[in-house]
Subunit: 253 residues, 2 copies
């Protein structure tokens, strides 16, 4: 079972939630399982206000953050987990069944700098392909194929129950050796690197205009697949900065 | 993970549900995790009708049963599990944390005659002491003590996820030996025995009038604690029938 100090490093992120009852239900499940950090990405304002002012609304909803983009909302996280089902598409990142998530969460929280975001999409269609490109893994709740789609509040309750109960307490706790120290760059650091590589792609004429969006998408996914250490990431930043400067110099000469 | 044939031997029972949205949410979670038998005990009729006729209501809600009493609703079950939290009282039966429930469910479903009921109380106050006296175990969801009380639809989702995913497939499946055959009497059989013992209590002047309800309650709990086999139960029935007849004969003589 997770310790409070570990739960404190897990955020729930709702992308464009609409139904105030669902927002309230997610907040309630979070309180039930001892989580307190909620961020809404570009929520529908009237309903977000309504959810926050509802009778019986939890304290954590009142201090919840708002963020214009998902990139911004998960900036300080080292492990970003999207949720959803795969009925209509093939995932572009590793898929993990919810009941097999605990070791991954435990390992991430063993890193002193590890921070996790658990992301839920809008009620109607779930996370988009673009949203999922910010995720290291897609977490799938093992539902019945005949009725795979869960209500938002219920999906959050099931995921938070699993995380809170089945992940392990801190490694200093008796009986479990600490896992090796392999810190990961934050989502924000990866976005900085991706931005630089995109500039290089443009400057080197790698990306024709009609491929720029697709290349940006694939690059984001690739960077999250690579398990870069923060040192790898700094090295790559240094290299691409140098390449960019050289390309620009050649262009000017 | 439970096989469909095992899920088919688990019923969800809602005691006096009121909110149609909650009833719909329980039905949806059942469909998500492949369960199909729902019984409502004395539901509030207008809201029960509303839940059943709601847009998007699941098929299982349309074929759900109604029952006047909890005793009647769980009559054919050999393991009755009540749900709730213990913030305000001490349980009168063994308490099991939800995440430790799987082996008990697996063992019961290994019995060819095993049938399980999972009971949820009304939204406001949960199951009463009387309701719980029909339960072999009280299942507690390990929630945060500062916010222990879950929404009905979310509690059902979490319990059904745990049952569906963490209980084991049939014993014939490779790698698991069948558990020894120890069938249990159904809840209805225990009620028949309890009724007979109560008659004996009266006929023998064991129960003064003001103690009859309390004795009935304690007897119900005790019979569920005893792990009677069906043969034990038949033997006890035979004995108490004989005792009753003898007491009545003496009374007439």
């Amino acid at each position: 079972m997770l310790a409070p100090s570990q739960r404190d490093r897990i955020s729930v992120v709702l992308v464009s939630p609409r139904n105030p009852l669902n927002i309230g239900a997610v907040a309630r499940a979070m309180a039930n399982f001892g989580f307190s950090h909620l961020t809404a990405v570009s929520p529908y304002e009237p309903h977000w206000r309504e959810a926050r002012s509802a009778v019986g609304s939890t304290e954590l909803l009142n201090v919840a953050k708002e963020s214009p983009t998902l990139s911004e909302a998960v900036r300080d996280c080292t492990l970003v987990l999207g949720t959803g089902t795969l009925t209509h598409r093939k995932a572009e990142q590793p898929v993990i069944l919810l009941d097999q998530l605990a070791p991954i969460v435990t390992r991430e929280l063993d890193q002193p700098s590890g921070r996790i975001a658990l992301i839920f999409g809008p009620e109607k269609h779930g996370l988009t392909r673009e949203d999922l490109s910010f995720c290291h893994h897609l977490v799938e709740i093992p539902t019945d194929p005949r009725q795979p789609s869960m209500n938002l509040g219920q999906a959050a309750a099931v995921c938070l129950y699993e995380l809170a109960i089945r992940s392990s307490p801190p490694a200093e706790a008796p009986g479990r050796p600490p896992s090796p120290d392999t810190p990961r760059p934050t989502s924000g650091n990866l976005d900085v690197l991706a931005g630089l590589i995109q500039q290089v792609m443009l400057a080197s004429n790698y990306s024709p205009r009609n491929m720029q969006a697709a290349n940006e998408h694939d690059l984001r996914l690739m960077l999250r697949r690579l398990h870069l250490t923060p040192a790898d990431q700094r090295r790559a930043l240094g290299l691409f900065r140098r390449i960019l400067r050289r390309l620009q110099a050649l262009h000017l000469s």
